[in-house]
Assembly symmetry: C2
Homo-oligomer: 191 residues x 2
C-alpha cells in the first residue's frame, strides 16, 4: 500500500495546488510538503515536473470521459444525445472544480497546444464520442454543416465559459439553469 499511496498523494497534491494557484504557485517543494513526502521522493515516481503534470492530465481525462458517458444511449435522437453529453460535461466540471481549473491551466500552457493539436488531428482518443456524434449529426442534417472545429467551438466554448463563471463565483448554476444553458448551446449547433 505504501508505494501506490505516495504516488497518489503526490498526484492529488499537484492537482490541488495547480488548480488553486496555477503552475507557478505549485513548486515541487510545496507539492512534496502537501503530499507529506520528501522533495526527492517525487522523483522516484516522476522523472521530472513535466512528466508529473502530463501524467496528471492523462489521469484526469481517464476519469472524465467515462463519467460523462454514464447512461449514454447512442440510439436516442441526436438532440437528446447532445444534451446528455453536454450536460454531463458541464455537471462534471461543476462538481469537480479542481479538475476543471487544472485542465484550464493545462490547456493555456505550452503543454496544452500540442495536446489540442493531437486531439484535432485525431491522433488522440477521448473526444471520440463527441467527434462521432457531431459527424453523425451533420450527416443527418440535424446539425449545421460547419467544419467540426467550429461545431466544437460552438458547443464547448459556452460550456467552458459558464463552468468558469460558476467556479469563480460569478453565477450559481442550478439544475434548471444548466439545462437552459445546454439547450442554448444546442440552438447554436442545430440546423
Amino acid at each position: 500500500m505504501a508505494k501506490p499511496d505516495k504516488r497518489e498523494e503526490i498526484v492529488k497534491a499537484s492537482l490541488e495546488l495547480i488548480a488553486e494557484q496555477g503552475f507557478h504557485g505549485a513548486p515541487m517543494a510545496m507539492i512534496a510538503e502537501r503530499a507529506g513526502v520528501g522533495a526527492g521522493t517525487i522523483y522516484r515516481y516522476f522523472e521530472n515536473k513535466d512528466v508529473l503534470i502530463t501524467e496528471l492530465y492523462r489521469e484526469l481525462e481517464e476519469r472524465i470521459f467515462p463519467a460523462i458517458q454514464e447512461g449514454y444511449a447512442p440510439d436516442k435522437p441526436i438532440r437528446e444525445q447532445f444534451l446528455h453529453l453536454s450536460t454531463g460535461l458541464l455537471k462534471y466540471f461543476i462538481e469537480n472544480s479542481l479538475d476543471f481549473r487544472f485542465i484550464e491551466q493545462f490547456h493555456n500552457s505550452p503543454y496544452g497546444v500540442a495536446c489540442r493539436r493531437d486531439k484535432l488531428m485525431g491522433t488522440k482518443a477521448g473526444c471520440d464520442i463527441f467527434h462521432d456524434l457531431f459527424e453523425y449529426g451533420i450527416s443527418q442534417q440535424a446539425m449545421k454543416d460547419l467544419p467540426l472545429v467550429i461545431i466544437f467551438a460552438l458547443a464547448f466554448g459556452p460550456i467552458l465559459a459558464v463552468a468558469r463563471d460558476h467556479i469563480l463565483g460569478f453565477i450559481v448554476l442550478d439544475e434548471a439553469m444548466i439545462a437552459r444553458t445546454v439547450e442554448a448551446c444546442w440552438d447554436g449547433v442545430r440546423r
Copy 2:
C-alpha cells in the same frame, strides 16, 4: 520623440514575446534585448513587471473597443447589431493575433481573474456596448431571458474558441465562414 519611442519599443517587445512565448518565455532581460534597450531602462518607464503587463493590457483594450465599434449603428435591429459587433470582434482577433494571444494569456493568469471580476461587477468600462445591447435584447424579447453572464458565455465562448483555432492554424476562416460562425452564435442567444 526619444522618450515615447523607448517606452513604445518596450511595450511592443513585451506584447510580441508574451504573445508568442507566454509570460514565462518573456523574462525582462529578453524584453529589453528585443526592445533594444538596457535591462534597467524598463524600470524607468514601468515600476515592475506587473505594472508593465497590466499597462499593456489596458492599452490593448483601448485599441480594441473603438475598432469593433467602427460603423456601429445603434438604431438597427438587435440581430444586426449583434452580428456587427461579434463579427468585428472576431475579425479584430484574426487580424491582430498578437493582441489575441496576449489577452488570452492575461485572462488565464492571476491578473485575469481580478480583471474579469471587475468587468462583471461593472466596475470596469469596455464591454459596455455588449452589456447594453444584451440587456436591451433581453428586454425586447429578442434574446433569451438568461443571466447576462450566460449570454456573454454563449456569445463570446465560441468566438474566442474559433479565433484560437484560426490562430493556431487548425482552421482557416474566410469571410463566409466568419459570417456563418457569428450567425450560429446568434442562434445560441436569440429567442
